[in-house]
Amino acid sequence: MELIILPLILGIIAFFLPTNWVRPFGLLASLSVLAVSFVHLMNFDPENYVLISNPAEIFPLGLTFKMGYDGLALTMVLLTNAVISIILLANWNRDISSNGRFTGLTLLMQCALLGLFTSLDGILFYTFWELTLIPIFLILYWFGKQDNNRALFKFFLYTLLGSLMMLLSFIGLAYFSPSFSYFQLVQANFDGKAVEAALIMGGILFAFAVKIPLFPFHTWQAPTYTNAPMAGTMLLSALMLKMALYGMIKWMIPIGFEGLVYLKWPVITLGGIGIVYGAIIAMKQKDLKTLFAYASISHLGLIAAGIMLFTVSAIEASMVQIINHSIVAIALFLCAGIIEQRLQTRNIEDLGGIAKVAPHFGFWFAVMTFISVSVPFTAGFIGEFVLIKELFTAHWVIGLTAATTLVFGAVYMLRAYQGSMFGPSKVTVFADLTWNEYAVFGILTVAAVGFGLYPQVIIDFIKPSIKFTQELMAGDLTFTK
């Protein structure tokens, strides 16, 4: 429980701190939450389900207030805490991080995310899902570009519409399950009513598809990213999108498994379209941030398609890829942020020759580019490779479509790198990296290469959870804790 309450309290404190204390306080706070989650990790056995809140009775409305984690959820918890610390570190040399409201909102966001990943109750899950929206909305509004209300409303209403569809699904689920406990929802008995199951799953999917975003639901993403401050973009792409992917693995498919037959191929097709569409649009972009936003659509389409297969290795690869994408997202948006901070522009056409004046930045940007195009020995290589293999096994057409991501990814990333770093020297003054940026790049590289060399550490961690979920779905397990 302290895992969720700690960032809440720290976040509220951050609002009232004097300006010069906020910066170290934010970083220390996020590190302390990370330390707490490491304590949880030390005492964790992947074969077990840890329940951190487990009231015996069922409250009115079917609420159970169950919270806890398995390997899958704990991975996401650790990812969240690590990413929040890294984001605060990356913003160290910017004005935004000395603003108590920003630090407070980030910590509140962390609280909501941790609650989401550890909730084992439908209504709690929905509550935390909505709660994450409020801090990010305020961060985008207060610290984003001014006069961005239109993009902001689009983002808010679009995601709210998705959430409401999910709520409808949960209301419908109440007719099939005695309570909103995760374990009972997974075992909800549809009596072979596959259409009902598919409808319920569809409602939940709508919420997730907007957040991921899947191909036709992505229109909010690019304007929101471009208007957002660097920290906001990082929070959105490194954490908010992961909520939806995690929700697909943990909630959507296990609950509506009877209806998966109806939705499997439509979603995989959309994912496939997203892979190609995002990549092609990304190739044409001039704004670095927009480019990375579309690249993100392309990467996430692959993960979403892989998750819909719901085989053990596809899910493992998706988890590796989820972690990798968080690393890549922070790295690339930090690069874009650095360029924007020094030059007040992100347009590739105005850039060029930065590598000459700032060789260290040139080097690290190159490393990050390689991580994002998934060269061997990075985590992305493992993830993408296994996902493409799994998709190929399912059908060769989708396998081929997905495989284009390797080529296209290299095209748009190298083009972006080349256009901004080399070429005619349009940029003559460029301050090189500061210590915190070195630190962030270093940590990210170590993580990406580490998981690339030894992805087994993630796989061992989540394999028992997948097995457990499958047993729970098959009803082999009379799990009534």
Partner: protein, 450 residues
């Protein structure tokens, strides 16, 4: 019964104490009276009253809860109005006295088990409100509102009375249990009964301010003082909705198939017309009026839910009333000569207490968990889910429009740039804000106790 008597006598005392022109003293007397009423309502079934129980007025557990809520909301409204009426020394005593008399009526309307008591409650509730709306005699808007409300309200009352007469004619009783029995036994399914019920429904829709009887709402809200507006939006609506739901779920439950179509029509039209018109308003009060029309639409889902309708309504109303009182209090702090929404620009960023209250109230009204507004809407919609699915989906679409409305206001008041004036908040206003914030955040926890 004791709670009613305590509140009524406090109202009388308040009238005379108010003449001394010592506003603190009056406030203290009224507050003590209301808290006394609250306590006596809390234990109303636990002790033998010295007043022998009167059959026309019973307080079951649910009715007790509604009564408690009504008294608590009145207390908030009274505290809120203190600053305003301290300066209007001419009307201090009228204000406190009338609001307490009106509350007595509201409690009759909540506890009735007899049509006679029902009508009495309705009148005692309404007549002080007609006066309160027009109490600022110099203000032409207030006079207009008062006259308009009085005339239309009287017509509605007359129609209500006619309906009661017709129902009496066809069932032969004023007692709601006997009417229910007569309807259930099928002895009296006559056109006369149907017309009577229809007339009562029309009058009810007028009292709660639902489409198509909503035209008085915006004008009256604009003319009334802030405290009276808050009282109307919370207590009057609460009592009228409770009576509506209780009568139609319990007494006329045999007629649900006949009534449900009309209620659904009123719900959907109220929701869309309310929210869409609210989007176009530039005046805060008119916006609140339209938003209250839309929220009434939501609350009317309780009429279609015989099982949990009353509990759902209670939860919904605590969320709605607390957020509304918070918003109106903020309006009272912010308002200068005009009540344009533009005045709100940046106030949330500059004043932390206002900012937090405003954000949470608006989020609760847009139906974002874990605030009470969400659980109210959830309860109302989930019980209608199986029978009226298309209407639930329409309601959800409407609530999306509503969310846009509230989030727009939130964004405006949280703007960073702009002057964002600092406002002075008196202690009492701060208490009202914090208490209503508590209701908005934690009101739904009552569900867990029961």
């Amino acid at each position: 019964m004791d709670a009613l008597i305590i509140i009524f006598i406090t109202g009388l005392i308040g009238l005379f104490v108010g003449m001394l022109k010592k506003s603190e003293l009056t406030l203290a007397v009224i507050s003590i009276g209301l808290i006394g009423g609250f306590i006596s309502m809390l234990f109303i079934n636990d002790y033998e009253s010295i007043f022998s129980s009167y059959a026309g007025l019973t307080f079951s557990r649910t009715q007790q809860m509604f009564g408690l809520l009504a008294i608590a909301l009145t207390l908030l409204a009274v505290w809120m109005g203190y600053v305003f009426y301290k300066e209007e020394t001419e009307h201090t005593s009228d204000y406190y006295g009338l609001i307490l008399f009106s509350l007595t009526g509201a409690l009759c309307l909540i506890g009735f088990s007899n049509m006679f008591m029902f009508f009495l409650g309705l009148e005692i509730l309404s007549i002080p409100i007609y006066v309160l709306v027009g109490i600022q005699k110099g203000n032409s808007l207030a006079s207009e509102a008062s006259v308009k409300y009085f005339f239309t309200g009287s017509f509605a009352t007359a129609i209500m009375l006619f309906g009661i007469a017709l129902i009496y004619g066809s069932t032969g009783s004023f007692d709601i249990n006997e009417i229910r029995m007569a309807i259930d036994m099928g002895m009296s399914h006559s056109p006369m009964l149907n017309i009577g019920v229809l007339m009562m429904m029309a009058a009810f829709l007028f009292k709660v301010g639902a489409v198509p009887f909503h035209f008085w709402g915006p004008d009256v809200y604009q003319g009334a003082s802030n405290a009276v507006m808050a009282y109307m939006a919370s207590v009057v609506k609460l009592a009228a909705l409770y009576a509506f739901v209780h009568l139609f779920n319990y007494t006329f439950s045999g007629l649900t198939p006949f009534v449900s179509g009309l209620v659904l029509f009123a719900i959907i039209v109220s929701l869309f017309l309310g929210y869409l018109s609210a989007l176009k308003q530039t005046s805060f009060r008119r916006m609140m009026a339209y938003s209250s029309i839309a929220n009434t639409g939501f609350a009317l889902f309780a009429v279609l839910n015989p099982q949990f309708g009353e509990v759902s309504l209670w939860i919904f109303m605590i969320g709605y009333a607390c957020s509304t009182i918070a918003l109106i209090t903020i309006n009272m702090i912010v308002e200068n000569e005009t009540d344009e929404i533009v005045n709100w620009k940046g106030i949330g960023y500059a004043n932390p207490l206002i900012g937090i209250t405003l954000v949470i109230s608006l989020l609760s009204m847009s139906g974002i968990p874990p605030f009470t507004g969400f659980f109210g809407k959830y309860l109302l919609l989930s019980s209608a889910f199986s029978n009226y699915l298309p209407f639930v989906i329409l309601a959800i679409i409407a609530s999306l429009i509503g969310a846009y409305l509230y989030i727009r206001l939130m964004v405006l008041s949280l703007a960073r740039e702009g002057e964002g004036k600092k406002f002075k908040i008196t202690a009492l206003q701060a208490i009202v804000l914090i208490l209503s914030l508590g209701g908005t955040v934690g009101g739904w926890l009552v569900l867990m106790i029961k």
